[in-house]
Structures are given as structure tokens and as C-alpha cells.
């Protein structure tokens, strides 16, 4: 293992180089931009043998991905925030057409007010599309998740696109040590993509993107539900094979000092690193606190989350998103699927820094709850 110091954006580009897609349509947007720059360089230098398409918008980027994927080749794109929102129409089409596209989303707040900084509203707002979603905690996981996503998305039992979500700036622009795996190992884990369902062959013509009347639509959508639910088995197998080859074990959720915890925080993405430091600090003082990090958000790992949190007396769920008038999305999904005493905390919107004192405040408010859902870190004088 050779560690190199790099940003999560560079780690993602390195992963894409290893996966070697054939078509890369990408449109730059802060804080994703350096991904598109690294990929442009790799293609120009001949390190990736791919068609790099300089599209005129994100809608075109994902449209080109879908068209290319329809011919049966591996594709990659990346975006953020407003770019993902502009893709929205084709995001649903990509899942419905069962195109195993892999995309990186540099998580950034949605306008208005306009903000370039981090939260997870952009990808959370695409949760109903049929895409798989992974939230990475660090640069290493960003890289690894791209490889795992191709493996799962392209599995014939799944054939659904994947979104690898990395917190804008907090990961995209943070340099830290990352292990870039060797090409031979990656080829063992991720074989060449040879689909049966998609091809470009004049002797076997087909139409994709067809119109369905009410006799067919529901079945097509039901197939997606079955495929996404079935993806769980494929993810489990991919995770264990990944661990065998690369020595890093991923799961749907990560449990951190949560087994005997009385209070458990649940969160996604880079904030979990800071929470772990706070958990260690409070454990040293004898407090039984722990963290459960949700890594795979779609398919939603109900059983795994429930197993991890059911032993706690109270649970605090952190959301870097809000569904107005109902609260954080992860909190509400946990409440909807599990009989647990969970409280929701909206944090870090539009790049508001989440400090250790905020995490401690959340733990205190979980212990002594006054309301189901609340916002943490607001400037009191501005409310």
C-alpha cells in the first residue's frame, strides 16, 4: 500500500482512471470542478482511453451519459448542487432506462440564497429517483466507493445508476493520505463491462426511451423497486470481495463505539469523522455515547440501521438537509421504518461549520429532548 496525499476530488479521478470508462461527459461546477479538470488531463494524456465530451450544461452531461450507456459502454460524470438539480429530469430517466451510470456528486447547498458551500440537500432531493447513493466519510472511501459502485450498478441483477456523494470543500478540497490501488487488483475486482441488455448493433436494432401506456408503466417501475431492494445482496458480496482484495471493509452502516451505547448519533458523510473525536472524548469521561454512520442511503438499509441503534435508549439523527415542515430526511426515514426514540437535528446548511460544541449540544439535547426536530448552530441574533 502506497499512501499519497490528495484531495477527495483527485481520489475520485484516480478511481475513474482505474475503472476506465469509455465516455466521460462532464460539465464543471464548484466544488466538483477539479474532478472534471483531472479527468480532462487523464484523457488528454492518454491515461484514460475515453471520449471526453465537453457538453454545454449538466442536462446535456447526464443526457450524453444516458445515450452512451444505452450503447453498452461504461460511463462516468460528476456534478454538484445546481448542476444536479438541472439534471433532475434525466436522473429519473437514467434509473428508469436501467443505465448503470456512476456519478460523483460534490455535495453543495441548493439556491436560494445562492451558496457554493456544503450541505447534502442536492443529492437528498434526488432520493426517489431509483439511483443508489453512497455518502463517503473521507478521500479513501470516495475512491473505493467509485469502484464498488461500478461493480454493483453493472451487476445484471441490479442495472441501476449510482451516485457517490462527497461533502463539498470538506472532502472535495481537503488533502489527506489516500491509497490508490493497483490496476491489476482493480481489474480482478471490476471486470470489463459487457452488458446483455444494452448494445449498438445495426443487425439487432432496438428503441430505448419508449412510451408506455398504463398497461406497462407500473411493471417497469416495480422492476426498479425489486432491483434496488435486491441490490443489497449484491452490495454485500461486492463489499466482502473488495475487503479480500484491498483490505478495506465497508458495510451499509459503520458502527463506532455504539454496541453498548446509551445515546447514539446517526449521521452521513464527513461529519462522522468529527463526531468520532467527540465520542472518544466523552467515552474517556465515562459517557456511553456512540455513532452509527449510514454509508449506503439508497437502497435504504432499514435492518442494518435498526440492528445498530435498537439497543440505545435515545438516538440523535443529524441531517445536512431539510424537508420543510417535516424536518431532516434521514431522521424521518428512521422514524418511519423503526420503533426507536429518535430526535432530529438540522446542521451545517450552506457550509455552516459544525464544531465539537455543536455535537455535544446535540448529545445533550438527545438526552433531554424537548422537541422532535430542531436546528443547531443558528446565529441567535439573526432569527
Amino acid at each position: 500500500m502506497v499512501l499519497k496525499v490528495m484531495s477527495a476530488n483527485q481520489a475520485i479521478a484516480e478511481a475513474v482512471k482505474l475503472a476506465n470508462p469509455n465516455v466521460i461527459p462532464v460539465y464543471p461546477i464548484t466544488p466538483q470542478t477539479t474532478i472534471s479538470e483531472y479527468l480532462a488531463k487523464f484523457v488528454a494524456d492518454g491515461d484514460i482511453k475515453a471520449e471526453y465530451i465537453r457538453v454545454e450544461s449538466e442536462h446535456s452531461a447526464i443526457s450524453a451519459c444516458l445515450g452512451a450507456s444505452g450503447t453498452g459502454v461504461r460511463v462516468f460524470t460528476a456534478t454538484s448542487s445546481q448542476g444536479l438539480a438541472l439534471m433532475h429530469e434525466i436522473i429519473f430517466a437514467a434509473a428508469g432506462l436501467r443505465a448503470p451510470i456512476v456519478m460523483a456528486d460534490a455535495n453543495r447547498a441548493l439556491s436560494a440564497p445562492l451558496s457554493i458551500w456544503n450541505d447534502q440537500q442536492d443529492s437528498i432531493s434526488e432520493r426517489d429517483s431509483g439511483w443508489m447513493q453512497i455518502y463517503a466519510e473521507n478521500g479513501q472511501e470516495a475512491l473505493d466507493s467509485i469502484l464498488i459502485s461500478y461493480r454493483v450498478s453493472e451487476d445484471k441483477k441490479v442495472l441501476l445508476p449510482s451516485m457517490v456523494c462527497i461533502d463539498g470543500f470538506i472532502l472535495t478540497h481537503t488533502v489527506e493520505p489516500v491509497d490508490v490501488p493497483g490496476k491489476e487488483d482493480v481489474d480482478k475486482f471490476l471486470p470489463l463491462y459487457k452488458p446483455d441488455h444494452a448494445y449498438l448493433d445495426p443487425k439487432r436494432p432496438m428503441s430505448i426511451g419508449t412510451f408506455t401506456d398504463p398497461n406497462y408503466y407500473m411493471e417497469a417501475r416495480h422492476d426498479m423497486e425489486v432491483a434496488l431492494e435486491g441490490a443489497k445482496k449484491v452490495i454485500t458480496k461486492a463489499n466482502s470481495e473488495f475487503a479480500e482484495i484491498f483490505g478495506r471493509k465497508y458495510d451499509f452502516v459503520e458502527k463506532y463505539r455504539s454496541d453498548d451505547a446509551d445515546i447514539i448519533l446517526v449521521a452521513m458523510g464527513s461529519i462522522c469523522s468529527s463526531i468520532k473525536d467527540v465520542v472518544d472524548e466523552l467515552r474517556d469521561k465515562g459517557e456511553k455515547v456512540g455513532l452509527v454512520r449510514v454509508r449506503v442511503f439508497r437502497p435504504f438499509p432499514t435492518d442494518e440501521i435498526y440492528e445498530a441503534i435498537k439497543g440505545a435508549s435515545k438516538i440523535g439523527v443529524l441531517d445536512k438537509n431539510v424537508s420543510f415542515s417535516i424536518g431532516g430526511v434521514l431522521h424521518n426515514e428512521i422514524k418511519a421504518k423503526m420503533d426507536v426514540d429518535a430526535y432530529g437535528f438540522i446542521v451545517g446548511l450552506g457550509g455552516r461549520d459544525i464544531k465539537p460544541e455543536h455535537i455535544k449540544e446535540i448529545i445533550e439535547k438527545t438526552k433531554n429532548p424537548t422537541t422532535q426536530s430542531q436546528w443547531i448552530g443558528l446565529n441567535k441574533e439573526d432569527i
Binding site: A112, P113, D382, I383
Partner: protein, 80 residues
């Protein structure tokens, strides 16, 4: 209190953000040499030179375009 939709309702309030401190170099105009051709006035991207050829150092960012465009080299960039 953030206004509704975070709207800014004070016209010209960007003038509160004085950008003069961004400079490393400061343009100095020698009015004896100046032939009043208006090049610097037109090329200054910040509109920092008025019709009397006075430079507004509160907002001049020190980009040096005026020095570049002056046909008689009447403007010299000097370190702050």
C-alpha cells in the same frame, strides 16, 4: 435579521467593501507627463479613475492595467 429571501435593499452597498487593501502595487500618475488621452479611465476595470485623473485608492486593486495602457508611461506601479 436576514431580509426576506436574503435580498439586499440598500443600493450601492458594495461600496462598503473597500477593495484597496487587496493591492500589492499602487499606481502613481505623473500629471505633468499625462496627455489626458482617457485610456486609463476607459481601461480601469473598477472605474477608479475620474475625469480629473484622480485615482480612488479606496477601491483600486492594483491590477496595473492603467500602467500597461498609458501611451506616455505617466503611470508607474510602486510597491505599497
Amino acid at each position: 435579521m436576514v431580509s426576506v429571501g436574503a435580498a439586499v435593499k440598500e443600493p450601492g452597498s458594495t461600496r462598503k467593501n473597500k477593495t484597496g487593501s487587496w493591492r500589492t502595487f499602487k499606481p502613481i500618475l505623473d500629471k505633468e507627463k499625462c496627455i489626458e488621452c482617457e485610456n486609463c479611465i476607459m481601461f480601469c476595470p473598477e472605474g477608479c479613475i475620474n475625469n480629473d485623473y484622480d485615482i480612488d485608492y479606496d477601491y483600486c486593486k492594483g491590477c496595473g492595467i492603467c500602467e500597461e495602457e498609458c501611451p506616455v508611461k505617466a503611470i508607474k506601479m510602486e510597491r505599497e
